[in-house]
């Protein structure tokens, strides 16, 4: 998806080391509005670190990140906090707040951010629960929901902030196989509605169906980037080919 418009998020030359290990070794990437970017790669390749740099959960040692063309003060937690309202994230372990019901999980952040008043937030939350097909679970506590249901509530919770982009960090990796489909279906439907997303995943079927662009990472570097057809069928780099073959 080439565009002369400013990318929504642009990361340049990110370096992040944990001790002696370089999780990110000079990584650059840009995401345009409406783009669906999928990141694949072996464990330890830096995919999670990269995606967490995009909402400031991990702060790179060096590099630049710009949101809608404006550079972010990387060490400023306050700056990141304001940005996080526009960058939503869904985690591998869903991390719903166990002491709150589904609907309370969803309304907490929007109300605290003064995005909307409580009654309005609850209406919106119910609408989102319908969207993820869990309307009847509004008053349920996470402990009484299945993994797939919890993940869908987590997605609704991220959507409640009306983000411009959604980051997914291996959203189905911790799910039992029979629940993966319901979450992937939801993500496909969100993509069809035009949501900009960056998805770190091992689900190649999803990547092929939804991705506009795929990044293959290994050892903290982007080895190859391109449309799904290239990455899955016509690799330019032998490492990419080996990885795809291994997980096919």
């Amino acid at each position: 998806m080439q565009s002369s418009v400013t990318p929504l998020i642009e990361a340049q030359n990110l370096v992040k080391a944990f001790g002696r290990i370089r999780a990110l070794d000079d990584v650059s990437c840009a995401i345009s509005t409406g783009e669906r970017l999928v990141v694949i790669g072996p464990s330890g390749s830096g995919k999670s670190t990269l995606i967490r740099c995009l909402n400031g959960l991990v702060k790179p040692d060096t590099g630049k990140i710009a949101f809608e063309g404006r550079h972010i003060e990387l060490t400023s937690e306050a700056h990141w906090r304001r940005l996080r309202q526009r960058v939503g994230m869904v985690f591998q372990d869903y991390t719903l707040f166990p002491h709150l019901t589904a609907i309370e999980n969803i309304t907490l952040a929007p109300v605290r951010a003064s995005l909307m008043a409580k009654p309005q937030a609850e209406l919106e939350a119910r609408r989102l629960l319908e969207r993820v097909q869990l309307a009847e679970k509004a008053a349920s506590y996470p402990a009484f929901l299945s993994g797939g249901q919890q993940q869908r509530v987590a997605i609704a919770r991220a959507l409640a902030m009306r983000p411009q982009i959604l980051l997914f960090d291996e959203p189905t990796s911790a799910l039992d196989p029979e629940m993966i489909k319901e979450v992937l279906d939801l993500m496909v439907s969100l993509a069809r509605d035009g949501m900009t997303m960056v998805v770190v995943t091992h689900e190649m079927g999803f990547a092929r169906a939804v991705a506009d662009r795929v990044l293959f990472m290994e050892a903290g570097r982007i080895v190859e980037a391109g449309p799904p057809d290239q990455i899955f069928a016509n690799q330019k780099d032998v490492r990419t080919r080996e990885f795809v073959r291994r997980i096919a």
């Binding site: 996080r84 166990p98 402990a143 902030m161």
Partner: protein
């Protein structure tokens, strides 16, 4: 038995002291525990170090020595303390140090993922503590905190050593007086009675705590176990 009834008013006056001291101590110690506990997980190193020093100092000295140290030491720095106040202060300082560790442990038990999840939603740090971490921390904090509270209630008896006429001291006096007057020692009866009273007070505390634990359980406060197959990848 008649002995107990004859001295009932006397016992009750001691009990009043004990309950007053215990309640004040519990309130103050809990406040200190929460304060120091929050300091020890603060993002500012200075606060964390201050909290650590406070906890290590007051935790590593025996309560009895602590009490005498404060009672006899305070006048030397120009602050004469009434026995009751000295007891309250030393129990609060000691209880606060132990309680702070319990609070800190409870907060740490909640885990980084909850914090990361809340951060990703754009919540401010204090909001994360207020709405996400602390409500969940109640579960791991409550049982050991209750244990500390019962210890503090029982420790009020130490106040007798600096002259507070609390319940235990009264029991002691009754035993001594009766032994002198009648020649035989009612120690077993009187101390047995004292035992039962302390037991009743502490039992009430643990019963209350169990009630709150059950209420917390019902609203899903017990931490959700990490899902199966969860793995960390870079």
């Amino acid at each position: 038995m008649a002995l107990l009834l004859d001295n009932l008013g006397f016992f009750l006056s001691g009990l009043e002291f004990t309950i007053r001291l215990a309640l004040l101590t519990l309130v103050c110690a809990i406040v200190v525990s929460v304060l120091i506990g929050l300091m020890s997980v603060s993002q500012w190193r200075a606060l964390r170090v201050a909290a650590l020093c406070y906890v290590e100092f007051w935790r590593d000295i025996p309560l009895l020595v602590n009490l005498l140290f404060i009672y006899f030491g305070a006048p030397l720095v120009g602050v004469p303390l009434k026995p009751f106040t000295a007891a309250l202060l030393s129990l609060t300082l000691w209880g606060g140090a132990n309680g702070a560790e319990i609070v800190r442990g409870g907060i740490n038990a909640i885990g980084q993922h909850q914090f990361a999840s809340a951060t990703a939603l754009g919540l401010k740090r204090w909001e994360i503590y207020r709405y996400v971490v602390l409500p969940q921390a109640l579960m791991p904090i409550l049982p050991p905190m209750t244990g500390l509270c019962t210890t503090l209630v029982q420790a009020t008896s130490l106040a007798s050593l600096v002259g507070v006429n609390e319940f235990f001291r009264i029991a002691q006096i009754v035993v001594e007086r009766t032994t002198m007057q009648s020649g035989h020692s009612p120690a077993f009866l009187v101390y047995g009675f004292a035992l039962m009273v302390y037991f009743a007070i502490c039992s009430a505390l643990t019963w209350l705590s169990r009630y709150f634990e059950q209420r917390l359980q019902k609203t899903g406060h017990s931490a959700v176990a990490a899902p199966r197959g969860f793995k960390e990848s870079a």
